[in-house]
């Protein structure tokens, strides 16, 4: 067992756990978007940042990938932590304004508006990559992936065309934290060609 502190309260964790896993165990709230226990962590959204302190030294780390260690002091609600969160939420509100899920989570953390301009009012996807990780790690296929890099990064099937590889399992839709995959799945698996005859009652 590893013993350390979160918000000045002593907690215990199994070796190999992350700070986030421990916090969840103790029902300490840390917001996350790109994290899901079913797939590997990518540390992409940076909403789960927490502050480590040791005397006058301090540093922010992503709790979803930071491994626990004996005696560390973790703080989840410091000014620096809240500053990162607030700006990440504001940027998300401008980047994927159509996502109700993001609006809700942001509002829960006190961010209801953004000072940034909105480029595409219909955008929902935040490019967190949970869907591609689910497809690869849970379903065992890689029907969708990240294409392009940097600011142009987006998710989709190769060449942005429907792909045979997709088995339409819906795993990506379930895991997507923003609801973006709902409207994207048709572009990945293709729109079913057969029309179903309604069941006779």
């Amino acid at each position: 067992m590893i013993t350390f502190n979160i918000n000045d309260t002593e907690v215990q964790a199994e070796p190999g756990w992350t700070v986030l896993e421990t916090a969840r165990q103790y029902e300490i709230e840390i917001p996350t978007l790109c994290y899901h226990e079913a797939v590997s962590s990518s540390g992409a959204c940076r909403l789960c940042m927490v502050e480590l302190k040791d005397g006058s030294w301090s540093k922010l780390v992503a709790s979803c990938i930071y491994p626990v260690a004996e005696g560390i002091n973790v703080y989840t609600e410091t000014e620096r932590v809240k500053n990162v969160r607030r700006w990440v939420f504001e940027m998300l509100l401008a980047q994927c304004p159509a996502s109700g899920e993001i609006k809700q989570l942001a509002a829960k953390h006190g961010v209801e508006s953004t000072r940034f301009s909105i480029k595409d009012p219909d955008e929902e996807c935040m490019v967190c990559g949970l869907c591609t990780r689910a497809c690869e790690e849970i379903v065992g296929l890689s029907a969708i992936s990240m294409v392009d890099r940097g600011v142009h990064k987006k998710i989709g099937a190769p060449f942005s065309r429907p792909t045979e590889v997709c088995v339409a399992c819906g795993c990506c839709v379930t895991i997507c934290p923003t609801g973006a995959m709902r409207s994207r799945i048709d572009a990945v698996r293709g729109i079913p060609k057969i029309t179903l005859t309604p069941l006779a009652v």
């Binding site: 992409a44 940042m49 500053n83 700006w87 990440v88 000072r115 392009d148 890099r149 940097g150």
Partner: protein, 633 residues
Amino acid sequence: MFNGNVALKTEVNRLNSHTDLNDFRQQILDSYDPDRPEILVCHGTGCIANGSVELTQALKKACQTMGVDAKIMPGIKSTGCQGLCSKGPLVHIKPHGLFYQRVKAKNAEEIIQKTIIENKPVKHLLYKDPQTGELFHKEEDIPFYKKQKRYVLKNIGKIDPTRIEDKIAVGGYQALAKALTTMTPEQVVEQITKSGLRGRGGAGFPTGRKWQGALKAIEKKGRPVYVVVNGDEGDPGAFMDCAIMEGDPHAVLEGLILGAYALGAEMGYLYIRAEYPIAIKHLQIAMEQAKAYGLLGENILGSDFCFNAQINRGAGAFVCGESTALFTSIEGKAGNPRPKYVRSVEEGLWGRPTVLNNVETWANVPMIVENGADWYANIGVPKSTGTKVFCLVGKVNNVGLVEVPMGTPLAEIVENIGGGLPGGAPFKAVQTGGPSGGCIPYHLKDLPVDFDSLTKAGAMMGSGAMIVMDDRDCVVDVARYFLRFLEEESCGKCLPCRLGLSRMREILDNFSHGCGEEKDIDDLMGLAQAIQDGALCALGSSAPNPCLTTIKFFKDEYIAHVRDQKCPAGVCKDLITYSIDPEACTGCMSCSRQCPQGCISGEKKKPHAIDESACIRCGICMETCKFKAVIVR
């Protein structure tokens, strides 16, 4: 030193001991004829661009056609960057010790006639001090060189980097031979630790501590361990690593081999930016030659120690210089930073203990091993030992490659070595550390340039680019430039960097268009803090530095943009107007002839005027006017 035009051995013999190496060195030195001239032509990137390849051909041709006596037939050598790039192509002539600048192919015959045949200098090719007009014959007397301390650059420009014999003649591989015959691997690590050497790739991490960390990891996990050269240099304005790899590739290689010996590595990688084909070629040649002489590969210098290395071409992205992205790139995957919180000495290439060091860091290793840690620790200042190579660029007279002891005051570098600014005005600021670094204002001109002083000032050493700015450089524009660069280079993995850098740049765009507000400056600082704290790798977390340091030191200029809608430096086009001072205008008409808009009117010998509504603020009139009558506000 060594003429290089004497064929030494047709058949290469492996060197199997320190004695073999010394004998071979003596043989090279004995073949040297001190009376025979040697012409060293700079083939660094800058000089090649200015025509040094054509010059070399012309020199060779002139030697043939002009009937030069066989006894004084000069050896003509291509060297790496000789340093004073802005005065290239540079030529160095031995044994006369003459230094010629701005040499063109058309000067070839004159050089052969006057200097080689008649033993006289070609006066108009000598370096002339721009301020005093004094003529200099020798490189070592020119202030630019005189005030430097060249250790890493010692051989660059003096040897032909494609001939290992040249390198051996000046003492190459002596450090390796010393280590293999008189030192244990632990002693090598100890010397590096004691020397105080810190990584030259940017962060200044103590190299000895890194190596010790790797040894600890090896204790836990066993071998293999890898040693890696970071030659991905991608900062705008930086070319020191390029110059070292091109001009003295064996220094990097010898350093790497010593590191491999110290850590017990059998394999090493040189990750070099694909845009550096000459560096890649020279290192390739260096490795082949070292292998042929038994200095690389199996049983190095006849010992039990075996080590191989290979070159990997960089994937062409700035972020691939980041350690974990570099490893994923060598492993054949997309070069993205890894999100894990593990140190690369423990889990680097293929999850193995790995030591990654910068090109210049590796190039420092042989001299430490050869001369001892104490000798090295005496150079520089206590917490930043040794020297640092800088690329001095921007608004400075002597653009080029400069090496000074750590702790040298900024003004010494810019004003004395760099020769100050064209026109003699004081500099406004110096950007160190490239896009991750910061702007140091003139009032800190006495700041010692070492790792800790720069960090304290909010800038950083970075890789060593030094961009000098004058009062015609706008700090908002500079901050925008670096943000735009990193915005394009962001790998896009983490959100603060992928979205945050564009948002910072958008705020600055607004400033330059005159539509910012004072409170936006606070927003900018808050967002910058969030990116510094939140980004996954150092590309993102250091990206706000240029913006933050310019706000810190030039807040007035930011306020002028947002409150008064003015750009004091006269750069942001939306915020400036050009006008003509009727007192100073002589009515020469040159501006009205040059103006692309035709919006300058006025009769000959009468004051002219600009029609502001048609002016596109290109600034051509201002450049054209000889009487400083055009004013920008």
